[in-house]
């Protein structure tokens, strides 16, 4: 913070006395980040770090795992134990991390292509098992890092480099998938909803089980520009206009297209034993004293 509009907020060493509240949560030497102007990923990071602050968690016990892609870079910027893994495999990595050290609060933070195309199989099974993970998907409808190819979320009609005549594939509705696979908490917000998203992060961080948050975020460079949808701010304005709050909505009815409503809110909130709880209680009941209860 070498230049602020109020120069009396620096001390003689030039250090700021008042700092951006996101800064303590970032590896500051790694900032500025690589994301494009108007990319929504940075906005989600603000909300996530604010939620960490409000949830007052022991940050030494919060670990973040990302896959590959633009959102995959989040892990590297956060000042937490952080793991930048292989494409699509953040969830199984996080599974091993959590099971090896159940004291950790493990968050998977990745993109739609990473989590739902190459990693779709793992998403389904981790949700089915109720692995104790918070999975955050920044959904920008595209593969950003590789230059704007069609993603499993790209709406029908949108043009991408590998769908040069417009997408004709049916996209996945992520909350519906998460719900069907057994996630205990399913929510969707957009980067317009910064306050709601922050609250949602905080709530989800405090819960157990396989929790899923989808965040709609603009990719101005590769999705919006190619589809003549304007800048990031135009898309966020669209989120504002098109979003409809419907907590508890039937996830069958929350699919997103190029037009029409964007249903937001918390769709699923239920309790099921986590994989580890199920393992411990099952083995205790069938093996009795012979079982060494596992706690890490």
């Amino acid at each position: 913070m070498s230049e602020t509009t109020l120069n009396d907020d620096q001390d003689l060493s030039g250090l700021p006395l008042v700092d951006n509240p996101v800064m303590p949560y970032l590896r500051q030497e790694r900032i500025p980040h690589i994301w494009c102007p108007g990319c929504g990923i940075g906005t989600t990071v603000n909300c996530f770090t604010r939620a960490l602050e409000e949830a007052a968690l022991d940050l030494d016990k919060v670990a973040i795992v990302s896959g590959i892609g633009c959102t995959g870079r989040v892990a590297g910027y956060l000042n937490l134990d952080s793991f930048h893994t292989t494409h699509g495999r953040a969830i199984p990595f996080a599974t091993g991390l959590k099971l090896a050290n159940p004291d950790l609060n493990v968050v998977v933070y990745s993109g739609d292509g990473d989590l739902f195309a190459i990693g779709g199989n793992h998403f389904m099974h981790a949700a089915r098992r109720n692995m104790d993970l918070l999975v955050v998907c920044v959904n920008n409808f595209t593969y950003g890092m590789t230059g704007g190819q069609v993603a499993p979320t790209t709406p029908i009609g949108a043009t991408q480099t590998t769908m040069p005549f417009g997408n004709f594939e049916n996209p996945a509705s992520l909350p519906f998938l998460a719900d069907a696979a057994g996630a205990t908490f399913v929510a969707r917000w957009t980067v317009f909803h910064v306050r709601q998203l922050t609250r949602c992060f905080k709530e989800a961080l405090g819960k157990k089980g396989f929790r899923f948050i989808e965040i709609m975020a603009p990719c101005p460079t590769l999705f919006l520009r190619r589809n003549r949808l304007g800048d990031g701010v135009d898309m966020v304005r669209q989120y504002k206009e098109r979003s409809v709050l419907r907590n508890g909505a039937d996830t069958k009815e929350v699919a997103v297209g190029m037009e029409g409503d964007i249903v937001v809110g918390t769709f699923v909130d239920r309790e099921r034993p986590t994989w580890l709880e199920a393992m411990n209680s099952h083995f205790s009941s069938v093996l009795g004293d012979r079982y060494r209860t596992y706690g890490g």
Binding site: M1, S2, E3, T4, T5, L6, D9, D11, L12, S13, L15, P16, L17, V18, D19, N20, P21, V22, M23, L26, I31, P32, H33, W35, C36, P37, G38, C39, G40, I41, G42, T43, V45, N46, C47, R50, V191, F192, V194, R195, T198, P220, D231, G232, V233, V236, R237
Partner: protein, 95 residues
């Protein structure tokens, strides 16, 4: 007339790091009191950055900081600024 229009007083302010701003205009667009505007000058990357055009309207709500994808701006209430300064000096006595 003057008694019908109460004098507005800023409750907070913003801190901007012009050099890391990428000009996306999120902060300006989504400020609830519409008190930010683009600078006339450019930063080194060639972007206009936000300035507090109507400082009297700033409530210090912090929304601009939540929106900014580049961590280039944040807002704070005056009372929180004072508390933050005191905390910062207390935690860094060598400063």
């Amino acid at each position: 007339m003057s008694d019908a229009t109460p004098v507005r007083k800023a409750k907070g302010t913003v801190f901007v790091q012009p050099e890391v701003c990428k000009g996306c205009s999120y902060c300006i667009e989504f400020c609830p009191t519409d008190c930010l505007e683009f600078s006339r000058e450019f930063n080194a990357k060639g972007y206009h950055f936000p300035v507090l055009g109507r400082p009297e309207d700033c409530t210090g709500c912090g929304l601009c900081g939540l929106y900014c994808p580049d961590f280039a701006i944040f807002g704070m209430r005056f009372k929180d600024i004072e508390a933050a300064k005191a905390a910062s000096l207390a935690s860094h006595p060598t400063r």
